[in-house]
Amino acid sequence: MSNKGDQPTMERRNFIGGTIAAAGAVTLAPGVILQAVAANKAETEAASSENRWGMVIDTNKCADGCTACVDACSDEHGLEGHGRPQTDAVWIRTVKLKDTQTGHISRLPLMCQHCEHPPCVDVCPTTASFKRADGLVLVDRHRCIGCRYCMMACPYKARSFVHEVITDQSVNAPRGKGCVESCTLCVHRIDAGVMQTACQEACTKEGHGAILFGDLKDPNSEISQALKKYDSTQIRADLELNTGVRYFNL
């Protein structure tokens, strides 16, 4: 019933969290009962720390030459390139890793890993880069001054800077010149109660089913069950960031 070693260096918090989760409903005082929050939040509710949204990606299922997740992400958030790969915004990209000893090639989609201890948040001078209560690491463009410290701090190269004026943005993702941005785990969908990201939807539609999204804090969720059953990897686990995105067969 523990939260899958949510954080390697905070045993006490883990213990308390686990105890509360195990109790389900906690009696604070006679007649006052704290109930566990339902998984899908209502639109008008604030994000809750009862959830932690995460993702697990099976690299064996990620097909060579397929860019369905990348295309779906661009479509969903209105990301349009200018044919300049070095500066165009990329929220999710496919990465190939080759084991030089065996010649085995792994493919995986890489995006913001939604760390529990995000370095991008640590370095942000304006608190524009922040971690929401439910574990999403986001950029508040109202505060971003475009200093790009977070881009330097991110070990996953997950963030992009918008270099050019943008018009006709998607309502799902207002974005503009001079701000840093990255994967939001489709926060607009989560807030609307749709528990499926655009990339997962596309991957499933393609028939690969390599991406699984869900609540890491709900022990009964599909993702929690999968992570419990199979060994998974965090990229750069040595940094102890406790990523919300994990990988199978990597």
Partner: protein, 155 residues
């Protein structure tokens, strides 16, 4: 002759005095753009007077709640402002709200304020198929405003 000049001057001042509020009223009455959904409605999500005075505060307050805490479906949503207030041209195409003479620009130009909203937010109603976290109610729900004074409240 002199009395005529004086009376003329007074008349002109009187005329200017009468014209100024009329001109101001005209500038402000250009707020609802022809061909927009708002033109067909009685009032906005709150009484017009209140919206004119306080819309920036409503938006600013709720933007933080929405972005940082994830509270959606709020009564004052910028994307819904755009949906309702964007006008259309002769061909039926939406005109950006920050274009010359359009809803947002008309007033902000008049008071020499440049709102930075549209550096990031879109200026025409979205036709995107997949859009989430959005009010789709036809008529705005009544919001109690009696407790809020009609004036800019800053602390």
């Amino acid at each position: 002759m002199r009395s005529l000049l004086i009376s003329n001057r007074y008349f002109l001042i009187l005329l200017a005095g009468m014209l100024f509020p009329a001109l101001q009223a005209h500038a402000e009455s250009a707020h609802v753009t022809k061909g927009s959904k708002a033109a067909s409605m009685d009032s906005c999500v709150a009484p017009t007077e209140l919206m004119r005075r306080n819309h920036m505060d409503f938006l600013k307050h709720e933007r933080d709640e929405t972005v940082r805490e994830g509270v959606r479906g709020v009564p004052y949503s910028l994307s819904e402002c755009i949906d309702c207030h964007a006008g259309t041209d002769e061909t039926g195409k939406s005109v950006p709200v920050d274009a010359e003479g359009q809803f947002c620009q008309a007033c902000h130009g008049y008071v020499a304020v440049s709102p930075p909203c549209f550096q990031c937010h879109r200026t025409t109603p979205s036709k995107q198929e997949h859009r989430y976290g959005y009010h789709t109610t036809e008529t705005p729900s009544a919001i109690p405003h009696e407790s809020q004074p009609a004036g800019i409240q800053r602390d």
